[in-house]
């Protein structure tokens, strides 16, 4: 047991190299006066500087910027995170609440941040497995064997839902990913299609097909591979991802705001399927 509280040394004492505001003078981030050093830079430059703590290479920053242009722009209010923004607009809540609520919801199991993050760690683990002379098909086969483990939670439903064992492959609602072609076109143009992790991601897809699993690489899996090839560390990659869905939220919120209040897919009472206890009366306990 501690003899004295460690908090004593921290009381009114936050030591940091991350940043500070000097009112009326300057703003420091990661040791730089960003009001000077960020002059003429793009929004993604400061996001990545905040994430990495250092300036990345210009071509890498530009690539990561262009990748996000494709990633989150699905302004369909039926998608589960976009729906929060649309409902917020329909309920005449504020745009900030709608967008921040939708951002929190994007940390989902079947889409969004969780599977994309896990796709990153899976590809990284596969890379290190291959460096130890393992065969890719054996590594993929071993992962897919875990999918049959009945103790493992399913992503789509159930009491202990878990991200799929093969994150970054397959997709709910649809089998294909319409964003893949334009993103690959971009990667080719930028010379980033031959990165080790991107190549590995497609080799995994081929492996899955050979093993009889109809799972195609999806956008999250490809972005995870790009993140690895661009040397983003694990937490840095997650920070980068949190930026990706905002355009869709804005479109969905604003669209709902232009529609009559409460008009976003109103549901009839009969649309509730009840499967509980039959009608009964409350028995008041004796005092």
């Amino acid at each position: 047991m501690l003899k004295s509280s460690p908090k004593t040394q921290w009381q009114n004492n936050w030591q940091t190299e991350a940043g500070a505001w000097f009112p009326g003078e300057r703003v420091i981030m990661h040791g730089e006066n960003i009001l000077q050093s960020m002059e003429g830079k793009q929004w993604m430059d400061i996001i990545l500087f905040a994430i990495r703590g250092e300036h990345g290479k210009e071509d890498s920053n530009q690539l990561l910027d262009k990748v996000l242009t494709f990633s989150g722009c699905i302004p369909d209010p039926r998608l589960w995170n976009n729906r929060i923004a649309a409902l917020a607009g329909s309920a005449r809540s504020s745009s900030t609440l709608g967008i921040s609520g939708a951002t929190a919801v994007s940390d989902a199991i079947i889409y969004g941040f969780q599977p994309t993050h896990r796709a990153y760690t899976m590809l990284r683990d596969l890379q290190s497995g291959l460096q130890k002379d393992s065969e890719l098909s054996e590594l993929v086969k071993a992962r897919m064997a875990q999918r049959r483990d009945k103790k493992r939670g399913k992503p789509g439903k159930g009491k202990k839902r878990e991200v799929d064992i093969m994150p970054g492959y397959g997709r709910p609602v649809s089998t294909g990913d319409e964003r893949m072609r334009p993103l690959m076109k971009l990667l080719k143009r930028e010379g980033a299609d031959s990165g080790a992790a991107v190549q590995l991601a497609f080799r995994v897809e081929a492996c899955l097909q050979e093993l009889g699993y109809p799972l195609k690489l999806n956008m999250g899996g490809l972005i995870a591979a790009i993140g690895l090839d661009q040397q983003l560390k694990e937490r840095e990659f997650v920070y980068y991802l949190t930026q990706c869905f905002c355009p869709g939220f804005i479109v969905c919120y604003e669209d709902a705001l232009k529609h009559p209040a409460g008009s976003f897919f109103p549901m009839r009472c009969s649309q509730i399927k009840y499967k509980g206890h039959s009608s009964r009366q409350w028995q008041k306990a004796d005092d």
Binding site: S4, R92, S94, P155
Partner: protein, 266 residues
């Protein structure tokens, strides 16, 4: 920065530290009551909620009224917009906190949400039981521009722009809450409802009943807004838990419901 120790200021909470650890409380007092040595085991949750917000214990009628209001607000079913936000989060497997954040984000709104209750309590503070002032407010030209980041106020606070008539649960809630003693505004609302609805050209909503009850309980507009957010969370939480297990495939996706009017095609 001054060397003098900075402080929180609270009329709600005080603490006495352990003798050997200034960072751990040995005794916590809420509005003067010893929370863990006196209140715990004796106070009911609803009384403690009232105490936290008002810093005085509720009278028995206040306790019963707030309890009934809390029951009425706890769950509005899965079709409710704030609850849908929570279940939409759950369908995708989002964290529990995200489900509640989603419910709060949507349930905060000016259409059936907490911001509407806020504005309705401001009306009670301004108009009290003055029928003419209420009618003037209700029958004016809508929307009212909102200078803040909130959307414009499209309809009178506490009324339902999409309703045909005052819903049965709203009437049942109003009747029940107005049956409590010391509820002059709820009683006035019950008596004047038809005239007010005529002036508004729309029926009274549950948010309007809630605002009146909060006002009779002595809560101000901000306290009412906060309590309305809080008291609606149990249902959102319960439905979110249920939807987490049900998963995304048994959740409405409105597959055929979206119609893009300017689809340029491939």
């Amino acid at each position: 920065m001054s060397e003098q120790e900075e402080t929180f200021t609270s009329a709600i909470w005080s603490e006495r530290a352990e003798a050997d650890d200034p960072f751990t409380a040995a005794e916590c007092r809420c509005a003067g009551y010893d929370v863990f040595g006196d209140l715990l085991g004796q106070v009911e949750w609803i009384e403690y909620l009232f105490l936290l917000f008002r810093k005085e214990p509720p009278s028995q009628p206040q306790k019963r009224l707030l309890n009934d209001l809390a029951v009425a607000l706890a769950a509005q079913g899965p079709r409710d917009l704030a609850t849908q936000a929570a279940t939409s989060a759950a369908a995708g497997g989002s964290p529990m906190a995200a489900c509640l954040m989603a419910a709060l984000s949507v349930g905060a709104g000016q259409h059936g949400g907490a911001r509407e209750v806020y504005h309705a309590v401001l009306c009670w503070e301004s108009f009290a039981q003055d029928t003419k002032q209420w009618q003037r407010y209700l029958s004016q030209s809508w929307p009212l521009p909102d200078p803040s980041t909130w959307p414009d106020r499209e309809h009178p606070a506490g009324f339902d722009p999409n309703g045909l008539a005052c819903s049965r649960p709203t009437l049942q809630t109003l009747s029940r809450l107005a049956s409590h003693p010391a509820t002059p505004h709820l009683n006035w609302l019950r008596d004047k409802r038809p005239a007010l609805e005529t002036a508004a050209s729309m029926p009274l909503a549950l948010s309007g009943v809630a605002a009146s009850a909060f006002f009779d309980l002595g809560f101000d507009a901000q306290q009412a807004e906060m309590l309305y957010l809080l008291l609606r969370l149990p249902g959102a939480a319960a439905f979110a838990l249920e939807q987490h297990v049900e998963g995304w495939s048994s959740y409405p996706f409105h597959s055929e419901g979206l119609h893009l009017l300017n689809d340029p095609g491939n």
